[in-house]
Structures are given as C-alpha cells and as structure tokens.
C-alpha cells in the first residue's frame, strides 16, 4: 500500500480542500483547491502517519464524553490487581485492587473491612500483600457474560478473589489450602455454578511435607470447584470441593457449554513429572518438563463430581478442603485423559460447545477435539489405556476433528461471530486467523512482541461479537520511549470486523503484566453511580449497623476505647478535633453523606498509615491504637472542592 505522503503528493491539489478540518473552515466551495489552515494532510505528514494510521486513529479515538462500546477486564499479573480498559479507546479507566493494598481506593490501608479480608487472605501463616493474577472470569448466565461479578486468581498464593461489579470492589478472597500455586483459574461454568481453580506446580497433598524423591507418590495436582452463591455474592467454601489429580502441572482450563455442558477441560504439562535439579546435574525443568511429545488434556465431569462430593464417604477432608480422591474420581467416571501436543497452553471450548481447541506451544499446530467423539468414547469406554495413576486415556486420533498448522508457538485461541478462530503465536509474534470448518489458515498479522493470550469481544461466551481482538504482548522492546530497564507490556488492538485484520493501536501497560482479559459489552454493566443509601457498608452491600449519621456526630469514650462517629461532606469533617490519650484504642466510624456523583472523600491520618476512600454514601470503620503521642493532622485525600485543603482536622494524642 502506498503511504500517505506518496498519496498526498499526487493528490495534493484535490485532497487538500476536503481534508480541511479543525478550524471551522467551510469546505463547501473549495472542492479542488489547495489546503490551508489546520489540515489532516499536513498534520499527518508532520507525524509521519500513513493512510492506515489515520484510519486507525479515527477508529480508536474517543472524543471527550463519548463512551466506549466494550470494557476489558485484564489481569494485572504480578501487580495483583485488575485493569479496566475501554475498547476501542484503549483507555485505562480503573485499576481494581484485588490482592495488593492500594491506597487510592483505601483498599487494605486501614479500613477494618479490609483487615478482615486480608486476614482471610493469609497463607502459610503470612500476611500476603501481593498476588500474581492471571485469568479474570466474568460471571455468566446461560453461557453469556452477565456483568454481575468478576473472579480473578492469584497464581503465587493460590487464591481466588470475588469482585462485585456494582461497585468494582473486591468482596472476598478464598485461599486454596491444598495447592502450592494455581494457574488455570479463574474460569467459570456457564451459569457460574462453580469457579474452576486447578493447581499448577504440584506439592504434597495428603502430607504436609515430602521430599522431591517421592514426587510421584506424594505430590499431587488438584482442581477445586468453588461453589458460587450468587445471591450472597460470595464463594461458599463449605459447598466447594476438589478432585485429586496426578502431579502433572495443570495449566489452563475451560468449561464446556451447550452439548459439553457439565464438563470441564484442563490441560497440563510436565506429565514427565520432572523434578528439576540443574544444580545436581539433572536436566533443568525447562528440559525435563518438555521431553514428551504429548501431555494430557483432562476431561472432567464436574456436574457428576458435585453429586459424588455430596455423597457420604466419597471425599476426604484435608486442611479443611473436601477432596474427591483420585481412585474415587476414576471409579465414578469423573476424570479422563486424552493426549495433547506438546507443552500445551490454551484449552478453549468453541462458542457452540462442540469442540475444544488446544495449542501446544512446542507444536506448530492447533488440535481441534470433537466433543461428540470424546463423549462417545467415554460412553462406550473406548480407552487406549490408563496413565500411571489409572486414569483412562482416550485415543488421540479417534477423538480429534483435525489439526491445523498455524506457526511457531501457538498459545491461546479466541473466536468471533463468523466461524473464525484466532490463535496467538508466541514465537512468531503473530496472531493467526483460521476457519474452524473446514480447517483452514486464513491470515496472520504481526504483533509486537511475544504475544501471550489474546482476548476477543465477548470471546468466551456462546455468542462472540467479533469486531475487536486484543493481543496481550509480553515484550515491547523498542515500541515506546525508554523508561528504564523495566519495560511495559504492550496491548495491541486489532480490528477483526473486516475482511482482513488491521492493527489499530498500541497500549503500553506499565503497571503489571496482564496475562488474560475478558471483553464485555459495556451496556451489560450496571454499576452504582453512588451508593444506594447513605451509610452504605460495601462489605455487606447494605446499610451498615453502627454507622455515623448526619446530625448525630459524636465522640464517645468507652473505657480505653474512643468511638468517633464522623461525617464527611464538602468541605469539612465533623468532628474536626479528636483528642485521645496515648494507648487508647480509637475507632472512627465515618460516613460520606454526599449524594452527588464523584463526590468522593478520602480520610488520611498523618503518620498512622491510614487512608480510606469514601464514595458518596459509603461508611467505613477504621480502628487503631494511638500508640504514638503527638499531634497528627487528618485530611481529605481526594480533591473534592475549592476548599478541599481546608477539609482537615487534628488527632491529638496526649502523652501518658
């Protein structure tokens, strides 16, 4: 294609006038005149833009006040947070704090609500103040995103966070006491019956400790099905269960839908059961765990497993978690294996639920499994044998639809509304577009660089939208200004609505490393603009019981506890002076009594490591021991009005 400058030179006389824009010049009478004023042609030349660039710019640009059509929820990787990004503008609208304290949101920086949450979130006796988020999952109804909840995993410290999309806040963190790490979560079943969390690097299951020498005997993989109680907006650990699996390293998972409803698919690597030890002359994990040409896709009947888990004597409880032992799982027909090539990363169910697409990152093909064939083989017990642990293995050739060579390093697949699939090629740094029926490679597009996952608009639902696809690139190298040795990642927006894919926009991600994202139609979300009532407790998602109320602000001493009932409104706190004695326990109940949208107030206390964010209507409690004597200002930390700097007060801690 000719670039803009070449075109421009040839067409300057006729193009100029019609490209005129920006200064309100009428272009009616100037159909074949020269450009004047601020014209796109000269701006484009100055900026070195091509025609394609201009189209991309116009496609992604959102003028002030215009809303994006889609919202993308991207994991923040080892930031421990979730990123909310508008599409097509690729603007970062919000960071949702999940596993990492975040003072702007007042998340785990003082509020008693979050102290409780962080207490829940502890592992191995440690406060855990970060996470490594990989896979966000939007709640689904009938296989469609319903816009109500978001789940996100922490790989490093195997946990799942539950985010309520009414206020975009984390409400619950559940820990997985029987895993070392997770990876292939969070993925949900089609009505959010369960949130799926498989382990990654295996650890001993039935014992607290075992050496690597007894890896095959004592180490185990597990997959947990967390029961979600939509009414309460919480995972119910008591109704959840896990299944014992071999000590392969489980990777990604997806839930069946339509004909495959009731089943889940987990892939795995390190079926070699390598235990590393480069320092002892062993092959390092990268070699030891990549020897086999085939690993195993796990096919799990979660619907039946839930029934089995409810039966007496079918589970063992370890560290408080109900587990279906592997022998029970095999006997009850809950788990099957089928070979999958090689070091697989993606296991993606097609929108109609009829196929499962697997990418083995050391194999240039995608493999398409037929659910009908799998189901038939299971029903007819046509097994090619079992693995070492006795799990039936289906015959690879007889359950696949076919394989398609795409290129080097295929990782993960998404779908559109026209029967096409899109697969990231990590090693080739491309996205491949291909046809599901008949299997056919259609096109590849360059991305920059090292694409991991890709996410398509409504891509994990029964009815993907097509239109947009985002390439989550791991490296950016030379794509952006140098900001030091730690580089941003690069999200690239690709237009998949046309006949050919077109790269529209690069978005650097200088705030964690997103692994996966889901993209929802924005109009499915109905978040609160302000909290529904004054005195709202976001933990309970209802009006709180012991909250500060306007007109009844007060300070009450109860022994060595000082209870402060405080309101915040532009531009003052009431009370403004809190005087306590050193060693007192101070309990501040504070309500933002505003009803205007965006009228958030912060509440920070100097040098006491406390900051709250109080959205209109919100009430929080913060309690602490006034262990240090002195005078400590508190103030509104969210700019609220012209007299914001005057929204302050003093905590006076009299020495003992």
């Amino acid at each position: 294609m000719m670039n803009f400058m070449a075109n421009f030179k040839r067409n300057v006389a006729i193009a100029g006038a019609v490209l005129l824009a920006g200064l309100g010049l009428s272009i009616v009478a100037q159909s074949c005149a020269r450009p004047r004023g601020t014209d796109i042609g000269s701006i484009a030349r100055e900026r070195g833009l091509t025609d394609q660039d201009i189209v991309a710019a116009v496609k992604t640009y959102q003028p002030t006040g215009k809303y994006d059509e889609y919202l993308m929820f991207a994991s923040g990787g080892h930031s421990g947070q979730v990123l909310v990004i508008g599409i097509p503008s690729m603007r970062l609208l919000k960071v949702i704090a999940a596993f990492t304290p975040e003072p702007w949101q007042g998340y785990a920086t003082g509020a008693d609500e979050h102290k409780r949450l962080m207490q829940q979130a502890r592992m191995a006796g440690h406060d855990i103040t970060w996470g490594d988020n990989h896979h966000p999952a939007l709640s689904e109804t009938d296989g469609e995103y319903d816009g109500q909840f978001l789940f996100i995993n922490d790989k490093a410290n195997p946990r799942i966070a539950v985010i309520d999309l009414r206020d975009f806040e984390t409400k619950q963190i559940v820990t997985s006491p029987i895993m070392g790490t997770n990876h292939g979560g969070a993925f949900v079943t089609p009505n959010t019956e369960y949130v799926i969390e498989p382990s990654q690097y295996s650890v001993p299951l039935w014992k607290d400790y075992a050496d690597l020498d007894s890896y095959e005997e004592d180490y185990r993989g597990v997959v947990t099905f967390w029961k979600f109680d939509r009414q309460r907006g919480r995972i119910d650990p008591a109704q959840s269960f896990a299944i014992e699996l071999p000590p392969y390293w489980h990777d990604l998972s997806d839930a069946g839908k339509g004909p495959s409803f009731g089943w889940a698919f987990l892939n795995s690597f390190n079926t070699e059961m390598a235990t590393g030890g480069i320092e002892a002359g062993n092959p390092p994990f990268e070699a030891g765990a990549s020897r086999n040409d085939m690993d195993y896709l796990h096919i799990i009947n979660w619907q039946r497993a839930a029934e089995v888990a409810a039966q007496p004597g079918k589970t063992r409880t370890v560290k408080g978690q109900r587990v279906i032992p592997m022998d029970v799982a095999i006997a009850e027909g809950l788990v099957y294996l089928v070979p999958e090539p090689k070091s697989p990363h993606g296991a993606d169910v097609t929108p109609d639920g009829s196929r499962i697409v697997v990418s083995g990152k050391l194999d240039p093909h995608v493999t398409v499994y037929s659910w009908n064939k799998i189901k038939q083989a299971i029903d007819q017990k046509q097994f090619a044998g079992t693995d070492k642990y006795g799990i039936p293995i289906l015959d690879f050739a007889s359950v696949i639809d076919g394989q398609l060579e795409l290129g080097l390093g295929p990782l993960h697949t998404q779908f559109d509304d026209k029967g096409f699939a899109y697969t990231s090629l990590f090693l080739e740094t491309k996205v491949a577009k291909w046809r599901l029926q008949p299997l056919e490679l259609v096109e590849k597009i360059d991305v920059h660089y090292n694409v991991g996952h890709i996410a398509a608009a409504e891509g994990d639902t029964r009815s993907p939208d097509g239109k947009y696809l985002v390439s989550l690139n791991k490296w950016s190298i030379d794509r952006f200004n140098n900001v030091g040795p730690l580089l941003p990642q690069n999200f690239q927006l690709i237009d998949i609505g046309g006949e050919r894919m077109q790269l529209l926009y690069d978005m650097p991600i200088g705030i964690g490393e997103p692994h996966y994202a889901q993209i929802i139609k924005a109009d499915k979300l109905k978040p609160f603009e302000v909290y529904p009532e004054i005195g709202w407790d976001p933990g309970a998602m209802a009006v709180g019981r012991d909250v500060a109320v306007a007109g009844r602000e007060r300070i009450e001493r109860r022994g060595n506890e000082v209870h402060v009932y405080m309101t915040a409104i532009r531009s003052h706190f009431n009370p403004e002076r809190i005087k306590v004695r050193q060693g007192d326990r101070v309990v501040i109940h504070i309500t933002n009594i505003e009803r205007a949208r965006d009228a958030t107030h912060g509440f920070g206390i100097a040098q006491y490591n406390i900051n709250l964010s109080l959205e209109p209507g919100e009430s929080q409690t913060v309690s602490f021991v006034a262990d240090k004597a002195g005078v400590f200002p508190f103030y509104c930390t969210e700019f609220c009005s012209a007299l914001h700097l005057e929204m302050t007060g003093y905590l006076l801690v009299e020495p003992r």
Copy 2:
C-alpha cells in the same frame, strides 16, 4: 463550526475518494468519485466524530513503534506512586513505585534493599506503606530540566523520595521529623542545590505535644531545604536545614531564577490561625481558615539562609533536624511576607524570573508581583509593618505589577514560549490564557471537570516549549463509562501551539489522583536499556559486592543461615531446589544474567510474600526466615519465553 456529517453530506462526491484509506486502494485516478472501502468519512460518521475530533485524533495518535516527543511525570496522589505518560499520545508508559509497595516492580515486596528503604521511611514508629504524592520536581541545571533525577513529596507522611532517572527507581526516602504534613514540595532550586519542602497543617515544633489552645504559641510552620548531593544521587540530611515559620498553613512554593535566583516563594493560607472545632460550635476550618481577604506570600532568601545555617549558634536541632529559629531568620533578613489574595494556591515564577504569579482561589484575579519591586522594598526596608511574629510585611500595592481578572477559582499558572500564561480555573472548570505584558485575558477553554493544576511542556523551566498543556482535572463525572462510585480523574491534553487552544484528548486516570506534573522533552532522558554490568546493585548503582555469578551458583550453609547464590536466565533458575530446615534464615542472592533488552525475570516464592523483579544484569538479595514447613514453589513471575512456565523451582522447608 459545521460538524463532520454536515460537511460530509455536502462533499460526499469529491471527498470520498481522497479520504479512501486502509485497504490499499490507490486513490490516484479517483479524484472526484464516490467513497468505497474503509474511508475515514464513514468511520467518522459511525463514531459521531467532528472535523475537530479527526484532527485531534491524528494529532495524538502514535502508530506502533513511534515515540512520544515528551514525557510527563505526574504525581499519583494517594496512590503514592509517580505516573510516566507519553505526550502527545497520553499513554501510560510506567508507574514508578515511590512510597507504596508495588509487586510488579518488586518494590518493597521482599528485596533487602527495599527493606532498608522502608525502614528509612518509617514515621512515628509506624511502617508507612502509602503516600499522598502531590508535586514532582525534575532536577534542574541552570534552570532547565536535566533529566537526571525526580523528586516527589508525600503530603500525608511528610517525606521526599528521590528517583534516579537512569532506571526510574526510587533510591531514597527522607522523612521530615518536624512536620505534621507537607504540601508545597518537592520544588527544586535552579541547579538542584536544594529540594524545598514546606509544611502544611502546622503542629507543635519545639515540643512533642501541645493542645490546640496554645496554637499560636506552640504550633509552627517550617520550610526545609534538603541539600541534594548530585554526585551521590542522594539528599544529604546532615547538610540540610529548616526555617521556623508562623503556624500558617503553607501551600505551594517555587524557586526564583535569573534575577530572583537565591530566593524562594511560599504561599500560605489559614493566616487566621483557625483551629477548627465544628463539633464544639466553632466555625469549621473551611470557614475559619477563609475569613481573611489576604493571606501571606513568604519570600525567603535560601542562599543567605544556607550561610546562616552553617554559622555556629544560629540553629537549634530538634528531632535531629537543624532549624533556624524564626527570630534568627528575621534578624538575618531571611524571610519577608507580602499579602496575597485570598486562600492562594499557586505561586509561580515566570520563566525569566522577573515576576511571581499568585492565584487566590477565592479571588477571581491573578496577582503578578514584580521581583524588582520586591527586591527594592526589601533592600530599602520599606515595610508596611510586621505580622504577629515580627516578620516584615511588604506593601501589597507597591510590589505588584498588576492584577488581572480571569474568572472563578484560579489555582495554578504555567507559561509558554510566546509570553503567555495559562491559569486553571477550578470553579469555572476552564483554563485561561492570558498575556503577561500588558496584562490581558486572551481566551478561555472548557475542561471537564474541576481542574487543579495544569502542566505545560517544559513549563517550569527558563524556556518553556509551548505546544502542549495538560489539564489535571479532579472530577470526571460523566466523561467515561461507569466503573462504579469511585471515578477516575481526567487528564486533558490541550494544544497550545496554535493561535487558539484546542482540546485534543481525554485520558482517564483510574489509578490515584495526580496533583501536579512536569513535562520534559523526551530526548533529555538517557535511561539505561539494561543495567550496565551483570551483577548490578540498583541500590548502590554499581556492581554489587556479594552477588551471584554465572558458573558459581551454589548453596552454602552458615550455621542456621542458608545462603543461595542463584542466577536467572531464559528459562531456568540455578539452583532449582532449595532445601532448608524450618527456622533457618534463608538468604538468596539472585542475579539476572541476561543482556537482552526486556529480558526481565521475576522471582516469586509461593505463600512467603516475596516477589522480586530482576531487570537484565540486576542482582538482588532477599532474606527471610523459613518459619513455615512445607513445599513452596518459586517461579519466574515475568513472562520471559515460551518455556517461562517451566522456569520454576522448589523451596523445601523440612519440619523441625
């Protein structure tokens, strides 16, 4: 101005062909034909864009791989971090962790280097894990940004962080033991001799505790001049000093330059010395601190003060900080006051150093002070009296150049290269452009909404660039998709290069509340692409002494300490197995031995709350007590290669 659609309808026949783009169609021979294929016109119509929108889109769009002309360093507000944003693309390139732990960067999530930093950063006996950053200051040489260092204040816990722009990492945090909070820092003198930090809400200075009843006697403001040692890249607290000031609340500051070099200007509010107490029927601070029509601009001779501070007997040391008492400061001619209207926020020295522009947010004017007149009044001791504390007050009318009515709620002023000044109008939600000589209002532009500071390209230097101005809006209300009750802020990019200001772009900031920003020409920065040598210790900015070296990886037991010398390279750690006994102290020295750009490795240990980020060449040490027995995987937390998931190992903690 006619909108695009109206224009389009009239000009469709001639416009279509030349707007053709995106599909490689030649447009040579189609000068007056109908549009076909993907044309800007139909895209623009579909998206509801105007001509102006298209121009704005093209002006801000950066195609893949194209670099921004400027970098903006914006405070993160109560996120405690610094945002690095490209201009004109308004892309967030990086978040620099300053006061808040940030696991993506491995900042204060395990590394011993950051444990030391966080130890320095404690206040009042508390770990402080957040900050409220307001004003970033780029280091200067001869009044120009030199691209070497960045300073940022923490208002809530009065501290200053020093960031080295070779690797965009925080190297030092100094605490201000004599302040309750700060605000008007960090601002630097023209050669970065000093970093200026004035207090905001006053607290007792010479006593640890005093009631508000003795506010006027015991409470004090202070301004600290932190001596910067450029060679060491550190503030030198021993060479720093403070000046005692009245207990007004000090707000913003700026350093003189050119003719006013050697002087600093601090404004203040609450010269009423109100102490609040709404709960006791007193006027709240917002009323009590806004009664006076005039507050005081403080004029401080820092150059002379540094000499005085070095003289024996001229300072008192309180809580380890040298302070020039107010009586000494007055006697030595270090501090003067001049009235300033009303509840001022901005005090901004013009590029040539000849004038100081003050905005009183409750006064519709900007006031322009003449440095010549101020200097003359000081030299000739022409005072209108003194304040309550004996500080000489200059006569307002005789030291101003003039006042100009701009509108409601003027806050902060920036400058361009053509003699214009730009002032944010908080209450009007506009930016005003005005001429300095003669004083004249030129134009106002709408912003959305509630603008605080504004930042212009190279705006605080002796030679601003004009071109771009960013409006740091506090509220966004209805500008973006609803993401719950906590809304993003809104940065708006304004083109100030043309005759009229033009709004180009909205950038939501959903990650803290920036207060101020500085914009530097990108080519002034020369950050490392990778660390210069393998084994680099970013704390010392030199090769570390006890670092892991390739070929000498090992595990050494020293009593109950286990020292691990580990290297990281795609795609393995060496060693991969670390076996210790419960209760051992584990010290891991780990070096990323990569030399390729962007080949960062993370190092996370499951459930031990540890994550490091190791850029190419970097070495870090992490030490911890293995207090919990069990098997804990560690792994690379930064996606590095196709075998990234295999880059893992096991920490085996044998039970005692």
